[in-house]
């Protein structure tokens, strides 16, 4: 099946310099994210998964190589373009949720809209924004908590708010850095179920970093990070059985997912 490529990276190299010692993290990574698929990125702790994700999200710049979003190069685009790219085209969720503690759940969900729009256009479309934010909160099942602060919520709830926030601007791609890493198995499963639902029902493209082989195995595509390179790019044929398994999650044997990254 030939799917359009949402995001592609070629020859990405990145090394950190500390006290004149070069720490090469990425040594020429070539990846392609296909539209509508769940891609899992696995690898040992410290192998550079987060680094790669930051490069893909233009939060950092590669030493060499390029990142293309829908065919256009964005790693060396202007600041404003990259800000817009992160705001409109990407949804990002993190292991530690990264909600803004001063804002309520609904305000956190509204944040990307507020950031992306000028004061006037935000006020002009205030009602729609609010509707959409409420819809997103409803989508993650937290509408009744919309006026709660992050400190009044559990980890799983916070992660769901973070997902709602990531979905607020209707992104083309969801980047998730160990979304279940900080949660217990049960809650982690819930989050994964939510993400898979989004993928299935809305066709959301997801790139997810995980330490859990079980999750990796259930993904459409699995990248393995090793020695600064993407080692294996799993074949597409794995998708069939995965879909079958995912359709009945209740019967899924409890797997030891969600153990924290070392």
């Amino acid at each position: 099946m030939n799917r359009p490529i949402v995001l592609a990276a070629r020859g990405l190299k990145k090394s950190y310099h500390k006290d004149r010692i070069d720490v090469p993290v990425l040594r020429g990574v070539d990846v392609k994210v296909q539209q509508g698929l769940v891609t899992a990125l696995v690898g040992r702790s410290g192998s550079g998964k987060s680094t790669l994700m930051h490069l893909l999200a233009t939060l950092d710049r590669p030493d060499e190589g390029e990142v293309r979003f829908q065919g256009r190069r964005i790693d060396n685009a202007s600041r404003a373009t990259r800000d817009r790219y992160r705001n409109r085209d990407l949804g990002i969720i993190f292991q530690f949720y990264h909600l803004l503690p001063e804002l309520t759940a609904i305000e956190n969900v509204l944040a990307p809209a507020m950031i992306g729009q000028s004061v006037w256009s935000y006020f002009a479309s205030r009602r729609e924004n609010r509707c959409r934010a409420e819809a997103m909160l409803d989508r993650v099942g937290l509408l009744h908590r919309s006026s709660h602060r992050p400190c009044e919520m559990s980890g799983g709830e916070m992660q769901r708010v973070a997902i709602a926030r990531a979905l607020m601007t209707d992104p083309k791609l969801l980047l998730a850095d160990e979304p279940t890493g900080n949660l217990d198995t049960e809650t982690g499963q819930e989050i994964l179920r939510l993400l898979n639902e989004l993928n299935e029902n809305d066709g959301l493209t997801i790139l997810m970093i995980t330490h859990d082989d079980e999750i990796a195995a259930s993904a459409d595509v699995c990248w393995r990070m090793q020695d600064g390179l993407i080692q294996s790019q799993d074949a597409e044929e794995r998708r069939r059985p995965v879909r079958a398994r995912r359709s009945s999650p209740e019967t899924d044997p409890a797997s030891p997912i969600g153990t924290n990254a070392a």
């Binding site: 950092d60 990264h98 503690p101 001063e102 950031i115």
Partner: protein
Amino acid sequence: MYRWLLCFRYLKTRYIALASIISVTLGVATLIVVNSVMSGFAAEMHERLHGLASDIMIECHATGGMPDPEAHLREIERICGADIVGASVSVNVPGMLGIEYNGQQLGRHVSLIGLDPKTYDRVSDFGKYLLHPENQKNASFQLRDDGYAPGRQELEQSGWEHRRRRVAHDRAMAKEREMMEELRRKASGQSAKPAAEAIADQSNDAAAAPSMGGVFSEELLEGSEGELPAEVDPMTEQFPGIILGISTCSVRSRNADGEVVDFYYAQPGDDVRMIFPNASTDTKVINQKFTVVDLYESGMSEYDSTFAFVRLDQLQEFRGMVDPATGVRSVTTIQLKLAEGADLNAVRDALRRRFPPDMYAYNIQTWRDLQGPLLSAVRLETTILNILLFLIIAVAGFGILATFFMIVVEKTRDIGTLKALGASGRGVMSIFLSYGLLLGFVGSGAGLIGGLLFVDNINSIAGLVESATGQEVFDPTVYYFTEIPTIVHPFTLVWVMLGAVGIAVLASVLPAMRAARMHPVQALRFE
């Protein structure tokens, strides 16, 4: 949008920042209070100084003064008549005031002014600072029966009543002394002609008419017996009237209970001695007795302690400033009152051109020139206070800077999150800048309100402090105002507010820039 939402939330949740802004609040409040009180004082002082000194003063340095003031006035009228609404001539001479008190002579140097109360009041406030209510309306150099200074116990009996009682007392004392002398003389068998009498004769001469001779130190020491020539009966008659500045003849202090009491060495009804030079080139000293007919209290200690006023025509005659041949009189000073809004300096310069110093020994000054040192001292004081207080706010600015740095560090992860969500560096920067702006507004706004409330109730606050500490805040022995004068200039408020808000914003620039420059990945990894 998110900037304002976030900085409002920060304002609501970060009380530490509010604590750091309190110094701004206090600074602003202090600045407002200090400026209001200072400008209240300055305005009061200006008013008094200006009221006391006419707009323009032409002083003649010659001891004989300038002859024919009418001709001068005509000339001045010709030069700048349009601006002049009043003119008065007077004679100013340095003099020495001698007050006899308990057999001692109290000396005091004063500025003796001969004036015409009617025209003098047109150029400056004079009558309204006299104690007797009638004199305030219509100044007179005749001693009045009573009614001086209603409400002042010490002066209750001033006037003819006081004079009669004192004269009777003096006479009884003199008789007593004479008797004692007689007894002593009898005992020692000396001649019957008392030496004191001769001197008394001399002093009576001095009292009755302007005298040109005599060594005044002797007169001072001995010519003060208070005996009058036959033609002046102190019981019913008075010497030429004199109005003394209140501090030349009184002291103000506190009694044991802390109440303010005035003590008068001389009061209306008493006789005093004035010693001053005559107007001839061959300078002689004139020793003349006057009767105090009123006291002058302007509230300006400088004036109250140096001025003594007598009638212009009398002083001219005493000093020999009337040309015996023509009857033309001389004056030393011409004072002018200008129309509202007239340019003081322009008129002064025009007059200076007409009376150049190489031809006339005249000193032509505006009241501002005269009071220049005092006015500029007050201005300097205000400026320095303002600078100091702004430095305090600037110090508060460093407090804000430190607090903001702390907040930025604390918010590192949120900054990373915002950037990951697509916020630009400038957007993040403006969060903290508007936070600083908001804090500045809140702080200086609270200071503004507090300062204005303080100024509004400053007198009752002073009263409270007084009753709490027992210490008088506004000491009436020092100040002549009964209330603290305050003036709030809106312009001052605006620039104090702008300054304080500006300092708060400036203090947040560095932390805001740091937040803007923060690397998103490092911010996100920050624990």
